[in-house]
Symmetry: C2
């Protein structure tokens, strides 16, 4: 039996960090054995945000692929491709845009939240408002049935499926498939400052390619409990970034539970837990970093090129069915 198709991806706007690792990359390493996995480097989607700073995107592209390969994504199991090179996708967008109203897009909770976060006010770029349509094109082009997402992205899958149902009904076809969200159970990883989620732009993330010195520096600068001054003071575990990271990256959950108790009671210093976390992260990141630095640029290009060619073929096939259903395949016999 054919494996189901899963689609995931990232906006290439910088190197990937531990937040990506725990939130999605680890999951993809698992999924690539279970599903036929496509991983999209979403440069067009990134442009909806960074259109006036496109070098950020082109500069990050190979970095992101290097991160993929170094954590264990296998290009023989996962098809890695560049969104902007799949010309069928914008064509699908054009056909789907007729099936979605402006007010429906404006009501999309994910888009609404992001518009607030980005302070667009009255200057929302049309490309930004329409990016859920673009995502629907991405998903349907590959007939992806499994979309690993966080809860905040569920409205995007719902929007995609609305388009699928409407298209299939209007054009009397079954060529588009509804997708299912595979909900991530991992909470968003907090930044080392404890303030918000880890992100490059906030400069509060540990990157997969960070050197041992930088990792150590970042761990030792982590936000803990500002009232935990002497080792003997009782300390808070909630909001303590070191414990959040130990929860996420340290395998022995019992040991963590016992350390937390000791910390809360008093008698466990920040330096001790930071040292444990540092060792943990160094162990995790050392082989990833070594793999990363062994990767040649040409090899990464080849992976992207091969993946992109494969993705192109699949997407073209879907586009052909879509145009056939609408009745726009004029030169199909040529």
């Amino acid at each position: 039996m054919n494996k189901k198709i899963a689609l995931t991806g990232d906006r290439p706007t910088g190197c990937l960090h531990l937040g990506h690792y725990i939130g999605s990359l680890k999951n993809r390493i698992r999924l690539q054995n279970q599903y036929n996995q496509y991983i999209m480097v979403a440069d067009i989607q990134a442009l909806t945000d960074y259109f006036s700073n496109p070098s950020k995107i082109s500069d990050s592209l190979l970095e992101v692929v290097a991160d993929y390969i170094s954590v264990g994504i296998d290009p023989n199991l996962s098809t890695i491709f560049i969104q902007s090179q799949i010309t069928a996708l914008p064509e699908l967008v054009m056909y789907y845009m007729n099936l979605v109203t402006v007010s429906r897009l404006e009501r999309n909770p994910t888009v609404k939240t992001e518009i607030q976060q980005k302070n667009f006010a009255d200057s929302i770029p049309a490309g930004f408002l329409c990016y859920p349509v673009s995502q629907a094109a991405d998903i349907t082009a590959f007939k992806a049935e499994i979309i690993p997402v966080g809860e905040d992205q569920l409205p995007l899958i719902e929007q995609c499926n609305e388009i699928v149902r409407r298209f299939n009904r209007i054009y009397n076809t079954q060529c588009l498939k509804e997708a299912k969200a595979e909900l991530s159970t991992t909470p968003r990883l907090v930044g080392i400052d404890g303030k918000a989620k880890a992100s490059k732009s906030l400069n509060n993330a540990i990157f997969l390619k960070d050197s041992p010195e930088i990792i150590k520096e970042k761990v030792y600068s982590m936000f803990t409990d500002p009232n935990h001054i002497k080792i003997s003071d009782p300390g808070k575990v909630e909001g303590n970034v070191v414990f959040t990271y130990l929860d996420a990256f340290y395998d022995d959950k019992e040991e963590i539970a016992s350390l937390k108790k000791q910390y809360q009671k008093g008698g466990l210093g920040d330096t001790s837990i930071k040292s444990l976390l540092n060792k943990t992260l160094q162990n995790l990141l050392e082989p990833i970093r070594e793999k990363r630095f062994s990767l040649k640029k040409d090899y990464l290009y080849d992976i992207l090129y091969t993946g992109t060619q494969k993705a192109k073929t699949i997407a073209e096939h879907t586009l052909c069915e879509v145009k056939e259903a609408i009745g726009l395949n004029f030169f199909s016999n040529k």
Copy 2:
């Protein structure tokens, strides 16, 4: 010196009629000698309106091309192509959509008027709102400098040029060209009922392929002056469709002026002026109709195919420059 490029076109939603002939086709026959003229059969744009009735579009496509050729558009001088087959166009749309805000599109006077006319209310399809961006893609893809339009379409050219300026500035390039509207001086041809402009959907138009009998029937059913009952009654010339058509299609303007005077004074019957108009239109349409019926379907397909291939090459070239400027030409060496 290279000829300047002109771009025109029609939404293929039915056969063309005298309104198209006088409003644009006649002009194109002139322009094809002066400019390098591209004529786009705008099926994607037609879909923004007729997405739920796509067979109207596919059925009309060859009819429109037959109309072009039969009025004297020369496929050796004019490049006739199908919008949906130029895959570079939707790609350009994706890049341009980031450079236009939703509120700017909502403020576009042409779009605003059309939204009211079409009774979209709160259900404006995203594809409809964004069609000015799609038009900007059409115009810029061919680096068209001359766009023959009616006054009501000037805001669309302005929108296109805003995108051009913004793109060239942000991506530090000169690859996109501003377009110039070539304003039509011909007023919109009124329908035979005198109520609105001639249009297929209002069933008040004389089509280029109408038979002699139907032309005659339509001319004799034309709205004149309801108070002009006896021949001796003074009659009104304003709003009298027969005179409007004579103004548009009868060459001897002096004769018309004299007939109008006679009609206003009294003593000229509707039958006389209708007979003159009928003879005029029969003479105009007979050779067009004969040419039309001599055209083989395969010949029309070939014209479209050849034109589309040529248009594809030009548009791909522009897209390549656009992607180069943004920094998205990853595999340009492959």
